[in-house]
Amino acid sequence: MLQRDARIPFTDIAKLCNVSTDTIIRSFDKMKKKGIVSGTTISLNLKKLGYEYVASFLVDVNFPYINDGIKFIREIPEIVWCVPTIGRYNLFTIAVFKDFSRLSEVRDLIKSHPHVISVGTNIWVGEVLLCPENFEFGSKK
């Protein structure tokens, strides 16, 4: 229920589950304590906040310098996610931009790092379909 609407009152959840509100509060606190749930947040339409572009950069860095590359990229304010990967590239990043020229600047900035070999760019277009609640709880095998 909280995955679909994190602001739903605990009293409503309790009524729907036919348990006391205290039980729901205790369960939620337990999940937070165990780290299953790290918090709650809102999902935003970044376009309405002025961010017109989202892009993924697929970066090939000289392998021994991968941590340098990550540190350098994460310091760029527009980068919202940067993780090492195994595959065609060794870094995957997602960034949000207010205008196209900044997107191009950031791409060039990443390319300018002495240990970056290449940067692949994918600009996200159209509606992004997001389903953060698409987890299968209890999937632990």
Binding site: T41, L44, P132
Partner: protein, 147 residues
Amino acid sequence: MDEIDLAIVESLKKDARTSFREIARKLGVSTDTISNRYRKMRKDGVIQGSTVVVNPEKIGYNSVIVLMIDAEPEYSSAIQNKLIQMVDVILVTKTIGDCDLMAICVVRDYEHIYDLTLKVAEVPHVKDVQVCFCLGDIRIRPEYFII
């Protein structure tokens, strides 16, 4: 959007369950102001919803993969709609660049990666699927991934 709207967004980004009364107290405005502003931002689609931030590792998922998909262009929207309905696929977007579509998925193990990739590859009009296996921080950040 003005400073009060942005302050509401920032506050709810950190904790979506923060009460309007608490935000109002911090900003020195009335609870009604916060409530009205929130309702307006929901209505205008600035705030699309709220959710819990789940740590995938704690519920049995050990990694995130990015699938880069080549598809027949006229079917990319249909493929996008099909993929987002698959369990464990948490984001799908059309892209311009190295691939036509990109999907971010949570996975349990190598077998799961294989099964999920195969399932995606079998969607009609998908031509090729490349897998990028993400290491390290796999926390999902829903506040960033919607545009």
